[in-house]
């Protein structure tokens, strides 16, 4: 297992390098001038100087190498220095990935936005799993009952209806008509007492619910299918024949085995949740990572977009790795070596 893990880890390095190269080339080869948004009155030679100042004068391999060094060496060193409150190496003059729009390091921008995304998206994923697993278990246990029919129908709706419509619908019903929840997420809210905690819960309720419904729809289908696969196995009959009560059979024997594929699906879904949250954050005006990406795209802020896209790619590769390893650990029959 360790051997396999190390091999997989080594394999992620060329993958990530290739992905970063693709993203870099895509942004670079695009027929779009980064100074295109500046006023037309700027003379051509000044424009050329601006391009040079942005670091665009050098050949492409130099810029790619520089970006790699900045992202993989300088930024981690900087983070480490900030955590330990010390200065590692030449920390004053170290080049960092800088946003063109705000002139501040991209990593600082991302660190600013991270908590909101993690709270809303992370919580919605947890809520989604907590809803999905019991529904999946019960609908498989009572297959073709009215509960199963209803659950299957709702999960079909949950993943057919896009989050930008459920979100807007929720706003229309709960913010516009009933006025229960605010439609805009307020990041400046600090939780200090009970009433501000209530306000925080109220503003998180809708985005979390919308994303949770979407995630629960997918996971509950997997859960149901996996339970159905296991319920007819011989070991279940054996467990019943031993005289174990039904609760133990289903919740201990069957559930534990059915969770194995579901856990990997959950792990694989995490990066997609970050991607899907781009839309939900836009609907509810949550100023998280997704909104940062949209702002960067609209402002043609290439370093910001590049870094964010690459971080999403790292998440995907990382969670693929985690899913593979988890599968091996949880199911001894599937060991790769």
């Amino acid at each position: 297992m360790l051997n396999f893990t190390i091999r997989r880890l080594l394999f992620t390095i060329p993958t990530l390098l290739l992905i970063s190269l693709i993203i870099f080339l895509l942004l670079d080869l695009a027929p779009n001038d980064p100074t295109g948004n500046l006023p037309l009155t700027i003379p051509a030679e000044v424009r050329e100087q601006i391009r040079k100042a942005l670091g665009l004068g050098d050949p492409i391999y130099v810029r790619y190498y520089r970006w790699l060094v900045q992202f993989f060496v300088n930024e981690p060193l900087n983070l480490l220095g900030e955590w330990t409150h010390s200065c590692i190496g030449d920390c004053e003059n170290r080049l960092r990935v800088t946003s063109w729009a705000t002139r501040s390091p991209v990593v600082d921008l991302i660190a600013e936005r991270m908590p909101q995304t993690l709270w809303v998206v992370g919580l919605s994923y947890v809520v989604g799993i907590l809803i999905a697993v019991p529904i999946g278990v019960y609908s498989a246990y009572r297959q073709y009952s009215w509960f199963d029919q209803l659950g299957t129908f709702i999960s079909m709706i949950g993943f057919s209806v896009p989050t930008f419509f459920t979100g807007v619908l929720m706003i229309v019903i709960f913010s516009v008509q009933l006025r229960w929840f605010p439609s805009i997420y307020d990041t400046t809210l600090r939780v200090t007492d009970w009433s501000s905690l209530g306000a925080q819960i109220r503003q998180m309720a809708m985005p979390v619910f919308v994303l949770a419904l979407y995630n629960a729809a997918q996971i509950s289908r997997f859960m149901r299918a996996s339970m159905l696969d296991n319920l007819n196995q011989d070991y279940v009959r054996t467990a019943r024949a031993k005289g174990l009560n039904e609760r133990v059979v289903v919740l201990v024997h069957v559930l534990r085995n059915s969770l194995i594929p579901v856990v990997t699906v959950i792990a694989l879904g995490v990066p997609q949740v970050f991607g899907g949250a781009i839309i939900t954050e836009q609907v509810f005006k949550v100023n998280g990572l997704g909104q940062l990406l949209i702002i960067g795209i609209q402002g043609a802020d290439i370093p910001l977009v590049q870094t964010l896209t690459f971080i999403f790619a790292v998440l995907i590769v990382l969670f693929n790795l985690i899913a593979d390893i988890l599968y091996g650990i949880l199911d001894p029959r599937i060991r790769y070596d």
Binding site: P31, S160, P162
Partner: protein
């Protein structure tokens, strides 16, 4: 007596003629009909297609006709879905928007199926390029698709608009980016099926009489991997419609004067506190279409699965 005995084959042929020869697709259709959701989905999808194809000829108000005196109206006989802030008829806009949305869905699905099937068949059939093609597929699966879609559209929008005009340019761009970012699942499934097919005797028989590879693929392999491709096709339409609406919803899809359902939804969210009904129509259209397509896919998967069929 002698007559009957001399020609037993003729008797069997006679019986065979009485019982109509049934192709596999009739069995599939019979199984498909037993899935209520799938039949409802098919009916709804056909209805939507008919509406957007024939509707604009019957409902003759132009979708971009501005009648500022009749702005922001609710549902009425003259305007069944009301009007927007410029007095444009929402029903007419929905019809023409649906045309574009469905066209994007179908064309992008066709493109992604083509690429997916090509990669899958080549990887499954030719062992030499299998590893390379599958690593390529894995690489695509590891790309963050939605951010990349947004980036590609931002970067190439203006160039394509200049080259092909505002409407065709953005259509080509969106269809292309959705197509080339959604073929991976199809490729994987098709490759798996082709690998299994290659072990079967009829492939060996065909090869032993010297069938060249291209005819092997077209005549023997492709018809046998039709079922997973068809299921992928339905799911591909749903995926493409949702992706296009999401792009339009983020403001990076079709322009306002050439609206799709996603763009209509995006435009009406600005007026959602004043005219909540306006966001319902496009959202409902997207959701119901995708739901019906997904149900069709569900029914088709059951119908094409020989283990379930005929039970």
């Amino acid at each position: 007596m002698t007559d009957l005995n001399t020609n037993p084959i003729g008797e069997i042929e006679a019986i065979a003629v009485v019982e109509d020869p049934r192709s596999q697709w009739w069995d599939v259709w019979d199984q498909f009909k037993t899935h209520k959701g799938a039949v409802l989905g098919l009916a709804f999808f056909v209805l939507v297609i008919l509406l957007v194809l024939v509707g604009p000829h019957l409902w003759t108000i132009a979708p971009n006709h501005i009648d500022i005196r009749a702005k922001n109206q609710g549902m009425s006989l003259a305007h069944p879905m009301g009007t927007d802030q410029l007095g444009r008829d929402t029903f007419a806009q929905m019809l023409s928007g649906g045309r574009v949305s469905l066209a994007v869905g179908v064309v992008a699905m066709a493109l992604s199926l083509f690429v997916g099937t090509l990669v899958g068949v080549l990887a499954g059939y030719f062992r030499r390029i299998d590893g390379l093609l599958m690593r390529f597929t894995d690489l695509f699966l590891a790309l963050p698709l939605l951010p990349l879609l947004l980036v590609i559209i931002m970067l190439f929008r203006d160039t394509l608009r200049a080259a092909f005009g505002p409407e065709t340019g953005i259509f080509i761009l969106i269809v292309f980016v959705i197509g080339i970012t959604s073929w991976m699942q199809t490729a994987r499934i098709v490759r798996g099926d082709v690998l299994a097919l290659k072990q079967q005797e009829f492939v060996l028989a065909a090869r032993s009489i010297g069938t060249p590879p291209h005819r092997m693929i077209l005549r023997h392999v492709l018809p046998n991997v039709m079922s997973p491709i068809m299921v992928s096709a339905t799911l591909g339409i749903a995926n493409a419609i949702i992706t296009e609406s999401a792009l339009s919803f983020l403001g990076l899809g079709f322009p306002s004067d050439f609206p799709t359902w996603g763009r209509l939804l995006f435009d009406s969210t600005n007026f959602m506190s004043l005219h909540p009904a306006r966001v319902i129509w496009p959202g409902l259209a997207i959701s119901l279409t995708v739901l019906s397509v997904n149900y069709m896919g569900d029914g088709l998967r059951d119908a094409l699965d020989p283990r379930i069929r005929g039970r």
